[in-house]
Symmetry: C2
Subunit: 198 residues, 2 copies
DNA sequence: AACGTAGATGACTGCTCGGTCATTACGACA
DNA sequence: TGTCGTAATGACCGAGCAGTCATCTACGTT
């Protein structure tokens, strides 16, 4: 059983990460100070350092927590889909919706791409999980005959790129088109690209 | 005729921008100090401030100069192509090659995506030019019957996203596949996605 | 109610960096 | 070769921030 202290600790850590997410969403990763996070969380700066070693640790933990949720959600979304098209449809809609409902998270996601060099989004473990999911689905699609036989890795990153870009556009747009329009466009685009020409 | 002073000024500015590009390539945009740039250019920090108003001005100018070149190159590349497929083929190859030959520039390009929020790559004037080019080509394709009739804006950003992602992968890879493989994949992927199903 | 302690606080320190400017080096010209 | 004006220099300043720690607070225990 969890001790009272452990519960409090968990709660504090989560508050701080939540605060960090909101603040990063507003100011970007590089521009966020520990003071900002502390203020947003309603605690003193020193308190933050009780629960985290460093600014970097706060940010890393925040990323981790936030992206894990989405990846799980996506895995759930298409657990019982039977065709590649269904999967794409569900995944894309889930993803767009998730970002829609949670612009803070989206901005955090963008900010994740900021750290320079080899540590970028590309290398982020959760992004890799995301890609792996996609690759598995593609591979199943190939076996099932839904998807043409092509390089799975390249297909996955290309599809991920299209989804991300459309999503980005939705968020930047002052008033984006109905979500269904974008879902339809993406699924259509992707399906044409991956289906065997008949 | 240019005065001697003007020539010197031009030369200095260019040296400083070149230096900035190399340093940004190594350390990322946010982590580069004016001192770094000055050192790389082999001048004192004060000198930099003779030719530029501020750190931001240096970086903005550096971006501008670097990306203009690529966009021109791309415009040239497909000036006399007759089909959409030819255009894509030429553009993609040119783009991948350009980044291949010039990793510094590539890293600069990545770094451009760093500034947070509305000022991102998306909003960068040169990126917009790039998108406009692509949109024009797509529109011509539609008129010609090469390309199915779909939302031109979405098509353009999707295609741009795929090209960028494949390119990114090439650079991150320790030893990337032959350039032709990637060109073929991208052109194939895109053509399937945009062609009318027959 | 008195006490002890874990937990919270925020002033403080040391450091980094953008930008300035008094001083110096250089080269053109007489 | 000496003089003068312009370009270059780098020590310096002030702002901002990560991380520390002496002090305080509030709550559980007796």
């Amino acid at each position: 059983m969890k001790t009272k202290a452990a519960v409090v600790e968990e709660f504090r850590k989560e508050s701080i990460c939540d605060a960090a997410m909101r603040v990063v969403a507003r100011k970007g990763m590089k521009n966020v100070t520990v003071q900002d996070i502390a203020d947003e969380a309603g605690v003193a700066k020193g308190t933050v350092y009780i629960y985290f070693q460093s600014r970097d640790e706060i940010l890393a933990r925040t990323m981790e927590g936030a992206t894990e949720k989405l990846v799980e959600k996506l895995a759930d979304a298409c657990r019982e889909c039977r065709s590649f098209r269904d999967m794409m449809e569900r995944r894309v809609r889930t993803q767009l919706q998730h970002f829609e409902e949670n612009r803070d998270f989206f901005r955090l996601y963008l900010a994740m791409a900021e750290p320079f060099g080899e540590r970028r989004l590309k290398q982020h473990p959760t992004y890799l999980t995301y890609l792996k999911q996609l690759e598995t689905i593609i591979r199943e699609g190939i076996e099932r005959g839904d998807v043409r036989d092509a390089d799975v890795g390249r297909l996955a990153i290309s599809i991920a790129a299209v989804v991300r870009e459309i999503m980005l556009n939705r968020i930047v747009d002052r008033d984006p088109p109905p979500i269904d329009d974008d879902v339809r466009f993406v699924v259509d685009f992707v399906m044409r690209a991956v289906e065997e020409k008949q």
